[in-house]
Amino acid sequence: MGGGELPGLLVNEIGGIHGILHGHVAFLKKHFYLITMKEFLENKKHMSEKVQAIYLWWHKPVVDQELLQSLPNLKVIANSGVGMDHLDLKLIASFGVKMANAPRAVSSSTADTGMALLLASARRLVEGYHLAISSDTDYCEADFLGVEVTGATLGIIGMGRIGYKIALRAKAFEMNILYHNRTHRKEQEEQAVGATFCETIENLLQQSDFVMVVVSLTPQTHKLIGKREMELMKPTATLINISRGAVIDEEALVTALQTGVIRAAALDVTYPEPLPRDHALLKLKNVIITPHLCIKTDKTTYMITKEAVENILAALNGLPMPSEVLPN
């Protein structure tokens, strides 16, 4: 091994559909010797020993047994974002490889996305825009009505870092905040945002004007919101999803929206992404779908890469990692 050589960092690709952003490359190259999957596969013998870390961007490259076995010097994998449902954490740990994600970087931006969707849906912003620019001038402002946000009740399902930032924002809109979480937040934290814990999700669903889903995707949260949950919601309520598409039973959602069981939905995530072009959700007037905006800003994407680099360097230097994820 040559002295002074930078540690090898495996990435899926640079640029392209799901690749590392061009604007991040210079920063990464300061600390690492960048290896793309293409380069790795073309020269496995030479490259496999060099790779000490992997940086995942939009869940790629796929980390499976085969890849792990071919990287004898792999010490750490950094995930961009906080969703970990695409990773087999136990498998990775079994190879003695450490895992990190980027909670600090993503929370504000994702909370902003949740609020953007809530407001856009409540005030029918997308419909309004289409009306304002349509070639048909015969519309009238007077009879185009949305629903109030200020003073309404927001039910947050999943009060982690992101859920809490949503609560902070919603409080400024004088919203009444309910939340449902695996665990109770501390009293001061609850008081700071005026949030009331709902022991049961049913309780939250029945009282909320807006239901915001902010959970991780796990076997327990798969199809967490189904037909039954939607029927418990108010017919005037709006469902907002910024977690993972699979947390909602999409078929049940289509039916609920078509039959007025709930008023509207705003989805930053679906299953799959993108949806097939003939999917019913794409045609419903009371649905806003956005292309997984959550962290898609210049600032946040850069912060994610910085957080990843911090974690990787810590792991390679045997220091505690700021955002380590343990397999349980």
Binding site: Y129, C140, L282
Partner: protein, 327 residues
């Protein structure tokens, strides 16, 4: 002895796309004899004398000298919303007619919409929606990005009730808040939202990532934002207008957007409304326009109606008028 007749109140029309909502009319009819313009025109002689108030819903009916002359017993015009730039206050005063609006009821909704527009514009929500539903979309590209709202600088031009509510909301997004106003707010009000006063609007324009307009339309604020002001703004900045279209020099805005002098605009108001089809603003990818929906929620419109009814009742009985607009 004449039976107690409900006071005669003129309105433009009921139902349909422009008129007073049917459920509102039902409620109003419990307190007034509601006369539509059509009914009035069909029976001017009789009704002209009876009409004592006008319920002006969304700037209709148009109140000109001709109408005022034919309504000798008109005491009050109740106008919906907060803007009164569509009324000739001098004219109405000469005829001894009082005016009321609904200033505070609209503030929350309008502030909410200001925030909605800022978030939608910054995060490219409308463009994103089109991508998500377009028949041609095969994937969502990783390098398609918006700009951050959290931690950015918001410059509020016009820190009245609505502007202040926007500041409250923006603070929760950890935004840095600058404001320009005729008068500086007091220290407690400023520190409650962490807002910094910019005596000169130029200072605000130069530092802001988002410039939000929440002023009244007056001769002083007409074309407040013109070519010079737009050029002072950052090329990465977004202009948000929830006041009146005429506060902005619209032609200058089109030019500024086309030449990348500013990044984007989000407008709930234009001049005229609606814009003529074919207007450049309607085609720009970096412009979001909404059809003047600042106060467009069921609850608020209901409260507006109730406020207007109260103002009319007060005006007709000689009591102090809630939300009276003075010259």
């Amino acid at each position: 002895m004449e039976s107690q007749e409900l006071p005669y109140v003129l309105t433009d029309c009921i139902g349909g796309r422009h008129g007073v909502y049917e459920d509102h009319a039902e409620f109003l009819k419990k307190h007034f004899s509601l006369i539509t313009m059509k009914e009035y025109l069909e029976n001017k002689k009789l009704l002209g004398e009876k009409i004592r108030a006008i319920y002006a819903w969304y700037h209709k009916p148009v109140i000109d000298e001709e109408l005022l002359r034919s309504l000798p017993n008109l005491k009050i015009v109740a106008s919906s919303g907060v803007g009164i730039d569509h009324l000739d206050l001098n004219l109405l005063s000469r005829y001894g007619v009082k005016v009321s609006n609904t200033p505070f009821i609209v503030s929350n909704d309008t502030a909410d919409l200001g925030m909605a527009l800022m978030l939608a514009s910054s995060r490219r929500l409308v463009e994103g929606y089109e991508m998500a539903v377009s028949p041609d979309t095969e994937y969502f590209p990783a390098d398609w990005l918006g700009a951050e709202v959290s931690g950015a600088t918001l410059g509020i031009v016009g820190m009245g009730t609505i502007g202040y509510k926007v500041a409250n909301r923006a603070k929760a997004f950890e935004m840095k808040i600058l404001y320009h106003n005729r008068n500086q707010r007091n220290k407690e009000e400023e520190s409650a939202v962490g807002a910094i006063y910019c005596k000169k609007i130029d200072d605000l324009l130069q530092q802001s990532d988002f410039v939000l307009l929440s002023v009244n339309l007056t001769p002083q604020t007409h074309k407040l934002i013109g070519k010079r002001q737009l050029q002072l703004m950052k090329p990465t900045a977004t202009l948000i207008n929830i006041s009146r279209g005429l506060v902005v020099d619209q032609d200058a805005l089109v030019e500024a957007l086309q030449n990348h002098v500013i990044k984007a605009a989000a407008l709930d108001v234009t001049y005229p409304e609606p814009l003529p089809r074919g207007h450049p603003l309607l085609k720009m990818k970096n412009v979001i326009i909404t059809p003047h929906i600042g106060s467009a929620t069921k609850k608020t419109r209901r409260l507006m109606m109730e406020n207007m009814m109260e103002s009319i009742q007060a005006g007709l009985t000689g009591l102090p008028i809630p939300n009276e607009v003075l010259l």
